[in-house]
Amino acid sequence: MNKNIDVIENPVLKVEDLCIAYNKSDSKYAVKNVNVTVKKNSITAIMGPSGCGKSTMLRAINRMHELYPDIKTEGKIYLNGENIMKMDTIQLRRKIGMVFQRPNPFPTMSIYDNVIAGYKLNGIRIKKSERDDIVERSLTNVALWDEVKDSLHKKGTFLSGGQQQRLCIARSIAFQPDVILLDEPTSALDPIATSKVEDLLVELQKDYTIVLVTHNMSQAARISEYSMFMYLGDLVEYGKTDMMFTNPRNKKTEEYLTGKFG
């Protein structure tokens, strides 16, 4: 066991020997042998320099890589003890929501329809009153309700970038997943929109487990409880965020956190 990597009891997510290569035929791995456990109802940040494999690792958790047949994923990931590789991808992705770097509301749908897109696109029929409840609850959760309640039937793409991103978060929580994966959700946003999204994530961790990729160390320091530091595909260090920032165990982590590279 790597002493730089903490182990959490009863984790929501447990990653075992995860290796990912973008090309089946060569042995250049973008993620190498990662073992990690993620705490329930917390925010876990994944940090590291560009190209270290943060997105690659995150996208393994909802099996997004399976869209691209060249990508090879080895190892195991458990969600609440259940091997996700054995789950139906459709069920899995309803339990593990994802928010992308650039806001991507469905351009043909209204704000309302974007929120319940998970139901609509899956053809899940629910009563109108129930739908209204889901929309209101999800939008309230992302602190967007007051801003858009009078224009629910306008296209989601009319919103500002920050509002769109919050809409995308609302879309991903409408199904009440166990885990939400976010890949640099604020990198396309201005500081005010960023801080709104951060506040929102802090709120959301009461109900959801959040795994957040971020370039921004101070963001990780502000909102995350646990942090991973990745370097060249390796998980170098994992532990409580405040511990990592005050007392990093690995030299590379320290250099990164003190801005020697990145």
Partner: protein, 297 residues
Amino acid sequence: MSTEKSSIDLTKNNTYRSVKDKVFLWTVIVISIITISPIVMIIGKLVWKGFRQINFSFFTAVTPSTFEAMTAVANGEIIPGGIVNGITGTLLLVLMASLIAIPVGIIIGLFLYENPGKRYADLIRNLSDILQGVPSIVLGLIAYLWVVKNITQGYSALAGSVALAIMMLPLIIRSTEETMKMIPGTLKEAGLALGVPYYKVIIKVLIPSGISGLSTGVLLAISRILGETAPLMLTTLGNPMINWDVTAPTSAVPLLIWDFYNDPNMVDLIWSSSLFLMGFVLTLNIISKRISAKSKA
């Protein structure tokens, strides 16, 4: 002092700039005139020669007999009758060709988009490009052999539609693939990340997002086949009456134009029919331009 100097510099610069500006302006004007004059002359000629014939019966009556036309011309009257058999024939042909080509073309286009860089996808793409280069008369011959000889045992609207559908296919395939490529991949991922099955993402997310591109492609393909004459001569033959039977010979506006051209008494109808056809094609083009402009806005 210094202000004076700089103002002198500015005027100098200004004369040079304004000369350059004028030269550029006039070049643009001349080039624009060269580009638009053929289309203006064509439309002008068609309107001038054709408008007299365009009246209510033009759209409601079938083609007149040579004798009727001859009498009218001899008396200095406008030719009676119209081209409704051609209009309905063209509609029937376009409708059936679209029914064949749109689903097939979109499915192949989606397939190409889903399999980029695959050998068989490249093969299909190349074949489709070759298909686009096949002379339409050859497609007419093929449809003659396939459909006229074997399926309908005679000239038929179906045979013509098959020839036209083959002409539409490469255009629709190409525009579908290009449209899909323009849709950001993150949209597809967003759909899948919500636990939506792949085929539903295609049907409910990708196609609606690309609907303007798809319909532009379809409209352009239709306007491309509207004027086709050669393949229809070999397949649908023509019909002096309105026909809605897909297994029977049928008329079409371009076929009528060819008939009128061959009948000295009907010359006047050439222009009005051409005007109609041109107007139809132009309208489709304008609609498709507007759709794509709207989607970009």
